[in-house]
Symmetry: C2
Subunit: 242 residues, 2 copies
């Protein structure tokens, strides 16, 4: 089972994003979608979308604390995004699944990225932590692990932003064996330096040399860090859920 963890929050494009992501997941066998709303309570919009998706879903909510909420004018990188929600999902996994009973892979899947279904086929091969390139991130057309020609192992990273991080990998560029998650207490934290969530999280589990390069030895891009434009909305049509 692939446990795909998706934080999500209300904005005008939310339903469109979740529609795209849920339709992608319909093409993936054996996926369990963990949707974590950044809200005080679960919303009907997300509840109904899940019900109509036909997917196996766990629906949670966990509100980002006020001190970390993005103000309208803040640039995105000023805040950690999705921390509270991913931690709620980790907690759910650890409370509901057991090491010798449940097998699986955990993947952090944002609601606005673009996923080729092939990335989920790659996950089936993960023993500890699998990694692959991510398109359109960090100022380059892609970030990718660099492999040592002889050993085929990860020796470094090509990234437009702090390539010297211990693990210069975007959230969309790795998946972890469920066992490792269940046996650890690793989580995300507001105390981490901005942009270091992935790197610090992976450091709990593994050394760089142990990473498993996938997607044809990191020569294929199966996931893109796309972002959707904020639409201009000067009015709403009454009674229509958009």
């Amino acid at each position: 089972t692939i446990y795909a963890v998706t934080p999500t929050y209300w904005r005008h494009v939310q339903k469109a994003e979740l529609t795209r992501i849920s339709q992608t997941l319909r093409l993936v066998p054996n996926v369990h979608w963990i949707v974590v709303e950044d809200s005080e309570t679960k919303t009907d919009l997300v509840r109904n979308l899940i019900a109509e998706s036909g997917l196996v879903v766990t629906h949670l909510h966990a509100k980002t604390p006020p001190f970390e909420q993005l103000k309208d004018k803040d640039p995105r990188w000023k805040r950690h995004r999705g921390v509270e929600q991913r931690n709620a999902a980790l907690k759910w996994l650890r409370s509901n699944l057991q090491v010798n009973k449940n097998n699986g892979i955990v993947y952090f899947m944002d609601d606005d990225n673009t996923y080729n279904v092939k990335v989920f086929e790659e996950m089936a091969k993960v023993k500890k932590v699998g990694v692959w390139p991510v398109g359109l991130v960090g100022g380059l057309n892609a970030e990718t692990p660099i492999l040592d020609e002889k050993s085929g192992k990860v020796k470094g990273y090509k990234s437009g932003w702090k390539a010297d991080r211990p693990f210069a990998i975007d959230m969309a560029g790795f998946a972890i064996n469920l066992d490792l998650i269940l046996k650890s207490e690793a989580s995300f934290s507001y105390k981490m330096e901005k942009g270091y969530q992935e790197s610090e999280f992976l450091s709990y589990f593994i050394k760089k040399e142990e990473l498993e390069p996938l997607a044809d030895n990191c020569t294929k891009v199966y996931v893109w860090h796309t972002r959707t434009e904020k639409p201009v909305v000067n009015g709403v049509v009454p009674g229509l859920e958009v």
Copy 2:
């Protein structure tokens, strides 16, 4: 058969967009995808993506003439987009299909919008021209035909932009019976006023009162006019197709 016509052009997010759209179409039975590249020749990127999609596809190309090409600093609305490509698709339909032999529906499907697969189920009901709401367009959270309470027919439009157009409907908000297309010579044109392509095109076929309101009498949004942010790309990874 639904003939889905998609103009597309090269930019960093092209492969991501086409990946999303092609995966959506994999969930639609009986679709024939007509992909029209805005380029001098067909590109390998699109050719390979089509080959791997498993869909029934016709791959065409038609380059937008220089006078109509969007400059980097132009706002989008200053140019007609997709005219050349949609006309190439209309030409292909008229050259390759016949009124009493081929049945179908024609839908203009941009590469960057978001489509709930339910919109394709609605198309199966179209006799002449079916219409439905479109989310996130024209300055509102949605544009929608307004129905007459008594007759249930379209009496006007709710739109944030020139709601008084004869057909104030986005390209994503209607589908046409193939017969009507094959029996006419209707096409798109650079001579039309900006923002009037849909309205003028529909005027060839039908009167407002004949439009068929779908999506539960236009109370459901199954398509969103999303736009993807242009990513910052200061460098490219050699040898990686993104």
